[in-house]
């Protein structure tokens, strides 16, 4: 197995594990960006270039910004980014459950009768071929994903937007008015 894969796996797993154990949310988010970039490097190593750049654009570019905005919008104090420590019982129980899952998965993968001989010639998918697949075989799925993304973005705006601002001195209505569109 190549050294590159081991380095990619170590960087990805290490930054993900450290991110999940830190108390500072900003540090966690930045380490998770490193982890997502490591996953993109894995896709590049495996020969799926388009997926690698999609991962870079979506996760390293977009989701990380949304996460950082959420962290900054929901912080408790203005200077201290650390959050309260979690209960020790939860951590121990989570480690037990995760360790048991890891053991089961490792045992299953190692003992599975997978084909040992890897495909010698890596398959390459050109962007042209992918575009034809998207427009031909998977055209319905493409349309559904477009509709899903539109609905999800509208729902996110409605969820995160504030209600109508009432003028001072007027009692707020009993039933919250429907949210208005954010400017």
């Amino acid at each position: 197995m190549s050294i590159a894969f081991l380095i990619i796996a170590l960087v990805t797993l290490g930054s993900a594990a450290v991110a999940m154990s830190l108390r500072n949310l900003i540090h966690s988010a930045l380490l998770l960006i490193a982890s997502w970039a490591g996953i993109a490097a894995f896709y590049l190593w495996a020969g799926a270039e388009f997926v690698a750049f999609a991962q870079l654009l979506v996760y390293v570019g977009a989701v990380s910004m949304v996460v950082l905005f959420a962290v900054l919008l929901t912080r408790q104090s203005r200077v201290d980014m650390a959050i309260a420590p979690d209960a020790l019982r939860r951590i121990v129980a989570a480690l037990l459950a995760g360790g048991a899952t890891l053991g089961v998965l490792f045992g299953a993968v190692v003992s599975a009768p997978l084909p040992i001989a890897a495909s010698a010639t890596p398959v390459t998918v050109s962007v042209r071929q992918m575009g034809q697949e998207l427009m031909g075989t998977h055209a319905a799925a493409l349309l559904i994903v477009g509709a899903l993304l539109t609905v999800a973005l509208l729902g996110a705006i409605i969820l995160a937007s504030t209600g109508r601002e009432d003028p001072p001195g007027v009692a707020p209505p009993a039933v919250a008015p429907p949210t208005r569109k954010t400017s």
């Binding site: 197995m1 894969f5 796996a9 990805t12 797993l13 993900a16 999940m20 949310l25 966690s28 988010a29 998770l32 996953i39 894995f42 896709y43 495996a46 799926a48 388009f50 997926v51 999609a54 979506v58 977009a62 989701v63 949304v66 996460v67 959420a70 929901t74 408790q76 309260a84 979690d86 209960a87 951590i91 129980a93 989570a94 480690l95 459950a97 995760g98 899952t101 890891l102 993968v109 190692v110 997978l114 084909p115 890897a118 495909s119 890596p122 398959v123 998918v125 071929q129 992918m130 697949e133 998207l134 998977h138 994903v145 899903l148 999800a152 729902g155 996110a156 705006i157 969820l159 995160a160």
Partner: protein, 105 residues
């Protein structure tokens, strides 16, 4: 015994899945729980790519197509999830999961 490349990729993705699982179970901050779920989704995508690359009969583009759609759905999930986090913060002024015990705003 020696492990095939496919098995090494599967071990990598299951380790990443378990890191995400431990994070989602252990932390009480809503954003970190959501990020743990994202890590688990990424581990599933790594499995798709691993089977596409090292699987027995790799069809030309099926695995890649699957991951592209999966990334799109994961992006939608992240956007809605973080909007929910902000809505929870507006209601109860913190985002600890233990204190989010009411469904009514």
């Amino acid at each position: 015994m020696s492990l095939s490349p496919l098995q090494l990729c599967l071990l990598f993705s299951s380790a990443l899945f378990c890191v995400g699982l431990i994070g989602a179970l252990a932390r009480s901050n809503t954003i970190l729980v959501l990020l743990g779920v994202e890590l688990m989704l990424n581990a599933a995508n790594i499995n798709f790519i691993a089977f596409w690359r090292f699987g027995p009969a790799p069809s030309p583009a099926t695995g890649v197509m699957f991951v592209v759609f999966s990334i799109a759905v994961a992006a939608a999930e992240a956007a809605v999830g973080l909007a929910l986090v902000i809505a929870i913060y507006r209601h109860q002024k913190n985002i600890r999961l233990q204190e989010a015990v009411r469904l009514k705003g």
